[in-house]
């Protein structure tokens, strides 16, 4: 009788990273070729599309959302706290940025407006996250639940604002605010809808978050929270404060992403579901794909963004499959990525019982 057991394979990091990437790429190619054959397409064309997607600069438009959000999430997840609320935090961040840009005099001052908006976006995201963690710390309410629920609340809160008090004057009654003042917009890269400033800020944040989580005492304690709140408390650091801090940072970074969405892409506030657009949920995936390592987040954000573009690309041109099939293919690619991770991290031992 055949018996299968699975053993962890522990390889040094400089082997495991290239190995995982290689296996992921192989998995990607296999799934693309299989999918192409299923839908009667030329695998060569599909792969060209895939390569083009990975080289398309539009991915930075997604990276600039995924990167900060997933960074924040990786802080919360490292602390063993379930923040499923990135979506809502993005949305309120966008709300905060719009508030400063549109309804305060700061918005019309160059540089100051941008910085103030983004700082307020940070703050709003943080407040939104803190609400959930305070309920967790002081009432023991599952933070995954509150964050998930607060996503919807954030949607409808923004909806309320854009349908009501914030509805623009020059928008013919459509649910959106007026455009934010020109001084408050971040300059886009010509021909694309992303801006370099938030992108570089995010890269900088990546390094900062890494140093924070792995080099400072507070950061290490945050990671320690995932083992035991009690033990952290017993090591001389207030675990409640740490939990709040971790969540706050997580929310703040998501809020930042939301703020840049307004300053760069939308340039006005639109209903909540259109700001978040599920990117907050996708960021959860980005965070886990990077195994919660902040330095790997840019890479996984890049990977996921490229697949986003790929799902658009295969809908048109010579391939021309519907959105549904594109989703199925992308989903399968993600699943294969998981398999590749397994191959890189575990060994399978087969035995025949004598």
């Amino acid at each position: 009788m055949l018996k299968i057991s699975i053993i962890k394979r522990e390889l040094p990091l400089h082997i495991i990273i290239p190995l995982r990437i290689t296996i992921a790429v192989i998995g990607l190619l296999i799934s693309i070729v299989t999918a192409s054959l299923i839908f009667n397409q030329d695998p060569g064309t599909t792969i060209t599309f895939l390569v083009n997607s990975f080289l398309d600069l539009n991915i930075f438009r997604y990276i600039s959302v995924f990167l900060p959000t997933a960074l924040g999430l990786s802080i919360a997840y490292s602390a063993g706290l379930w923040n499923l609320g990135a979506e809502g935090q993005i949305v309120v961040g966008a709300m905060g940025a719009t508030f400063i840009a549109l309804f305060t005099p700061l918005g019309t001052i160059e540089y100051v407006g941008v910085i103030a908006s983004l700082l307020f976006a940070f703050a709003m995201g943080a407040i939104w996250a803190i609400a959930a963690i305070v309920l967790k710390v002081y009432f023991g309410i599952n933070e995954a639940l509150t964050t998930l629920m607060m996503n919807y609340i954030a949607y409808y809160l923004v909806d309320y604002l854009v349908y009501g008090p914030w509805r623009g004057r020059g928008v013919y009654g459509y649910p959106e605010t007026d455009m934010i003042p020109i001084q408050c917009r971040l300059q886009r890269v010509a021909g694309y809808s992303f801006s370099l400033y938030p992108l570089f800020t995010s890269l900088l944040l990546t390094i900062l978050v890494f140093l924070f989580l792995y080099r400072t005492r507070i950061g290490i304690s945050i990671r320690a929270l995932s083992s035991s709140f009690r033990a952290v408390e017993l090591s001389g650091i207030s675990s409640t404060k740490l939990a709040i801090l971790a969540f706050m940072l997580s929310g703040a970074l998501a809020g930042f992403a939301g703020g840049t969405e307004v300053l760069v892409y939308h340039r006005k506030l639109v209903p909540g579901a259109k700001i978040g657009a599920g990117m907050g949920y996708t960021s959860i995936m980005v965070a886990w794909l990077s195994s919660l390592n902040p330095v790997a987040v840019p890479l996984s954000a890049y990977y996921v963004s490229s697949l986003y573009i790929f799902s658009l690309a295969i809908q048109i041109g010579s391939i021309n499959v519907g959105d549904a099939i594109a989703r199925a293919v992308i989903g399968t690619i993600f699943l294969l990525t998981i398999v590749s991770e397994f191959i890189a991290r575990y060994r399978i031992i087969l035995r025949f019982r004598g």
Binding site: R217, R223, L234, G236
Partner: protein, 486 residues
């Protein structure tokens, strides 16, 4: 005598750590084999492979001449192999009854009476319908034992589970073990206590660094010889009671006044306890497990709320401040269960040490601490979950080298340690006291408390029923007191 179970050339690695290297072992029926080794020598890994928790990288287990691979304890149990774990492996949220029923794979009502009869035989008073998390650590160990014995195993693996049982319980347990042996079962008895091994086993296997370094007949081997084989050239630290020579001065640094604490269910767990610890003094608190020591200990360190009374630290009222603030002012805690309260398994050794340090520490300092405490493997970058139980406790201990505390509250700090390590802990604590620190030592091991304490407080039913000075202690009298009120 036929071989019941053979372990054939088993090797097991965890990443870069070789836990077991080519181990072969025969266990005949009717035999008690002691597996002796210091912390991290691979004893527990061997036990877990036998029980199917780990699958060996190489080699196999032979049962009745047939080669077997156990993928799960369920497989092992099919062949009558049962393990009593080092730490009770029970589901906290389920009741005692449900746990045992899961283990025995029998319906609840069928085993209800069996369990009660069994517990009565051991004179253990536990309501088996209560969830595990309401029990004390020791009570959990009783259940862990009880469930294994109730399964009537052919091979019973006892993984250091008996070390801290009260003497009476221990004797009863060994009687039960002998009964198993008498009915042609066999026992693997894993321990780091050499006397225990000598006393109860028929054969002794010594493991070191994953290899078998000696196999002896229990009757023909001396304790010193075994110690030499077990620890190699490592010198044994002699614990000395230096504290008694130093005059204890000044006022109490830690004062507990008439404290009343309730347990999770609103029952009084600690009632009107008053204690004080002076500077440079070690106060041992002894008592039968489950008499409020855990609650008191957690109260002092701040994990539990005080219902009445107050706790003073250097004259300052700390009754209501959170644990982290108590740590900051120098009140440290060494937990019984380092895995739960002491360390962070997902962090490295260095990071674990770093968390406690309010100052920045040099890279070299890590190495110092590691070598001082003999943590194996001696690599600060290794994740703690790769360390064995004893080494984990050492990581916990490391904190007192980083920031010098004023008072250490220790709760069964040597429970998981081998002889060498526990002496290391004991000597560290006494040394700490001799330098002017104070220790409040909760211990279920009377010998340990007697060896270290300047004063001994006896707890029973949540009350301190007597405080004895070191000079005025009579061990047997103490035991009587402990039992009388329990």
């Amino acid at each position: 005598m036929s071989n019941v179970i053979r372990v054939v050339e088993i090797s097991k690695r965890f990443g870069d750590i070789i836990a077991l290297d080519n181990i072969s072992l025969n266990i005949s029926s009717g035999e008690i084999v002691a597996v002796l080794g210091e912390n991290g020598s691979g004893k527990s890994t061997l036990a877990k492979i036998l029980y199917g928790l780990y699958t060996p990288d190489r080699g196999y287990i032979e049962v009745n001449g047939k080669q077997q691979v156990f993928l799960s304890p369920a497989d092992a149990k099919k062949y009558g192999i049962v393990m009593v774990s080092q730490r009770p492996q029970l589901i906290d949220e389920l009741t005692v009854l449900e746990n045992i029923s899961l283990f025995l794979n029998k319906p609840l009502n069928k085993i209800y009476n069996d369990i009660n009869i069994f517990l009565q035989e051991f004179n253990i008073r536990i309501n088996i319908a209560s969830p595990i998390h309401t029990l004390s650590y020791t009570e959990r160990q009783y259940i862990e034992m009880a469930k294994a014995l109730l399964a009537r195993p052919r091979l019973l693996i006892v993984d250091e589970a008996t070390t801290y049982l009260p003497q009476s319980m221990k004797i009863k347990f060994f009687e039960m073990m002998k009964r198993i042996v008498a009915t042609n079962g066999s026992i693997i008895f894993i321990t780091h206590k050499i006397p225990e091994a000598l006393e109860f086993s028929t054969r002794i296997i010594v493991l070191r660094r994953g290899r078998i370094v000696g196999e002896f007949d229990s009757n023909n081997i001396s304790l010193d010889e075994l110690r030499r084989v077990m620890f190699g050239e490592t010198a044994i630290i002699q614990t000395t009671k230096q504290a008694q020579d130093i005059p204890i001065i000044k006022d109490a640094i830690l004062k507990i006044n008439n404290v009343l604490v309730e347990d999770e269910y609103g029952k009084k767990a600690v009632e009107n306890v008053s204690l004080d610890v002076k500077q440079g003094e070690i106060v041992g608190v002894v008592g039968i497990a489950g008499n409020g020591q855990r609650e008191l200990c957690e109260t002092i360190i701040g994990l539990r709320k005080v219902k009445k009374g107050q706790i003073l630290f250097e004259g300052r009222d700390i009754t209501h401040i959170p644990p982290n603030k108590r740590i900051a002012i120098g009140l440290y805690y060494i937990p019984e269960d380092p895995f739960r309260d002491g360390v962070f398994l997902n962090l490295t050794v260095a990071e674990n040490i770093k968390i406690f340090s309010q100052r920045k520490i040099e890279r070299k300092a890590f190495q110092d601490i590691i070598s001082k405490l003999n943590i194996i493997p001696a690599n600060p970058g290794v994740k703690v979950h790769k360390l064995s139980g004893g080494n984990v406790q050492k990581v916990v201990l490391s904190r007192i080298f980083i920031n010098i505390p004023k008072v250490i509250v220790a709760y069964n700090p040597t429970r998981m340690l081998d002889e060498y390590s526990s002496r290391l802990v004991a000597s560290t604590l006494t040394k700490f006291a001799s330098l002017g620190g104070s220790v409040l030592l909760f211990s279920e091991d009377l010998d340990e408390a007697l060896a270290m304490g300047n004063r001994i407080a006896v707890m029973s039913r949540g009350k301190v029923i007597g405080i004895y000075n070191y000079t005025a202690i009579n061990r047997s009298e103490l035991e009587k007191v402990m039992v009388a009120y329990a």
